[in-house]
Amino acid sequence: MSALTIAAQDSATMLGREIKHSVRLLRLLIVSAILVPVVMLLLFDYILGGTIGHGLGDAARGAPYVDFLVPGILMMVVAGSCGPTAINVTLDMTGGFVDRIRTMAVTRGALLAGHVGGSVIRTLVATTAVAGVALLVGFRPKASVVDWLAVVGIVVAFSFALAWLSAAIGLVAKSVAGANGSTLPLSFLLPFLSSTFVPVDSMPAGVRWFAANQPFTPVVDSLRALLSGAPLGNTAYLAVAWCAVIALVSYLWAQAALRRGTE
């Protein structure tokens, strides 16, 4: 077997382990990855949506608030995977499992590949489920098949990037609580400081500049444009570029943290 075949085989083994873990923790995952976003969706649509919808103006393009909201909620599902992914990595690092793997002739990085792959798969399942609920409560996308494929592509790319970032955070965290706390800005703060719930233009000047230029905004804007059939402009390129940068930097950070951890 070549080194590459072995690396692929080891990564597949670790991915299998991670999927098995997810199945064992299914109830927990359903609550955190599906029910929480669904509650957000319902709260924002039914409770706040009336007022926000009126204030949207041109941004709504004549559609109800739910059509504006759902792309943001889908992005929150992706961002919400950061905590569990970081915690899973920290659990492996602080338990004896990583030490056992390190004393075996297992491909370096296979463990992280398993975690990242598992995170992306969990996110895809959760976004699909939340999108299903969104359709039930009145979300009416105007996307073509190609648009839908692009939506899936952006979700996967963003999920992949955030999974590497979460893995790196999980590697450097000293405890599970630390891992969870460190991912809160990603899963909670940054979504609010972006175009997730309201257009960036409606924010105060200082926040507006930050919101317009941070990675979550082009991701949400791309999903929104694709799902509403609006012109995409160059926002999708920006989103993909952000994903690539986050994934690359996080990957390098994770590798460095892994090396440091062995000394």
């Binding site: 083994t13 299998g16 098995k20 002739a105 062995t262």
Partner: protein, 319 residues
């Protein structure tokens, strides 16, 4: 195993001048080791002596700051991959996956070792059998007893048929019965010809299992030899007598030559080589008039080994 038929012509582990420090704290201060193939070698020492660090260095988990070492003929620095292919490590803390069943844990190891499907199945079934885990194979380790978890941990280590096994404090935290079971597991492994490096805080454990023992203290090996050789260097068992007052202590010390007295605690230690007979003798020499408050019989333990080898009590017990 039969020590007389063993020819230690080949070396499993050879280390020289291993040093490791974390900042100011020196953990290994020049450790030399030579372990023959098929030997059971015990590293004996208290917490903080450097036992786990030695295991971590030799099992490629952490690099040493200085010194050289080879494992099964492979250099630790240059050929870590080759070393990993022939060793098995059971760390001090359990390395089982709590979300997978016992069987799935073993299968996971087999996959990571790239075993063929038939070998994977056969080896899993065999290890579950050998370690008496068949009944719990379908459950997750969260439902296991301490002994079952340890056995699964070691079974996972053995999945790849390692030639050298590191066992870091394999019986710490186990109840006496599970400890006996673990000792038998280790004896069986040794009988199978595997080289074993185990660490322990207990002289008795090293005595029971090891062909050779190295005593580790503050990152240095302060004594090395067969259990018999080491025990010869330890002052023998003694009887400890505690008295109600200084006058009784004085009187007893006069009657029992060769004893050592501790005036602060009103305690007298009398060498006790002859078991019950010498105990009778001691009591007879004391007579009826000396008021003995308390009497205990003391057999050599790690503390005595340390006292004999380093002239200081081991850290934990001196507190």
């Amino acid at each position: 195993m039969n020590a007389s038929t063993k020819h230690e012509t080949r070396t499993s582990v050879s280390a020289s001048g291993l040093r490791k420090a974390y900042g100011e704290k020196v953990v290994l201060d020049g450790v030399d080791l030579s372990i023959g193939e098929g030997e059971v070698f015990a590293l004996l020492g208290p917490n903080g002596a450097g036992k786990t660090t030695t295991v971590k260095v030799l099992s490629t988990l952490i690099p040493a700051d200085a010194g050289t070492a080879s494992v099964m003929g492979h250099d630790l620095r240059g050929e870590a991959g080759a070393v990993r292919a022939v060793i098995g490590v059971t760390g001090q803390f359990l390395a089982v996956d709590n979300l997978l069943t016992g069987q799935e844990n073993l299968v996971l190891m087999g996959r990571l070792l790239h075993l063929a499907a038939t070998e994977l199945r056969a080896r899993t079934a065999q290890l579950l059998q050998v370690f008496d885990l068949v009944d719990v194979a379908g459950r997750t380790p969260t439902t296991y007893s301490g002994g079952e978890k340890r056995r699964l941990d070691i079974a996972m280590t053995l999945m790849g048929r390692p030639k050298l096994i590191f066992l870091d404090e394999p019986t710490t935290g186990l109840d006496p019965r599970s400890r006996q079971t673990m000792w038998q597991v280790i004896r069986d492994l040794a009988a199978g010809g595997v080289t074993i490096l185990l660490t322990t805080q207990y002289l008795e454990e090293a005595d029971q299992l090891a062909d050779r023992i190295a005593v580790l203290d503050h990152g240095r090996i302060v004594a090395e030899g067969t259990p018999e050789e080491l025990k010869r260097r330890i002052p023998g068992a003694h009887i400890r007598l505690r008295f109600a007052d200084a006058a009784s202590l004085d009187e007893a010390a006069r009657a029992l030559h060769g004893s050592t007295r501790d005036d602060a605690e009103l305690v007298l230690r009398v060498p006790n080589e002859g078991g019950i007979r010498s105990l009778r003798d001691v009591l007879a020499r004391l007579g009826d008039d000396v008021a003995v408050e308390d009497l205990s019989i003391h057999t050599p333990d790690l503390d005595d080994v340390f006292f004999a080898m380093t002239g200081t009590a081991s850290k934990e017990k001196s507190q």
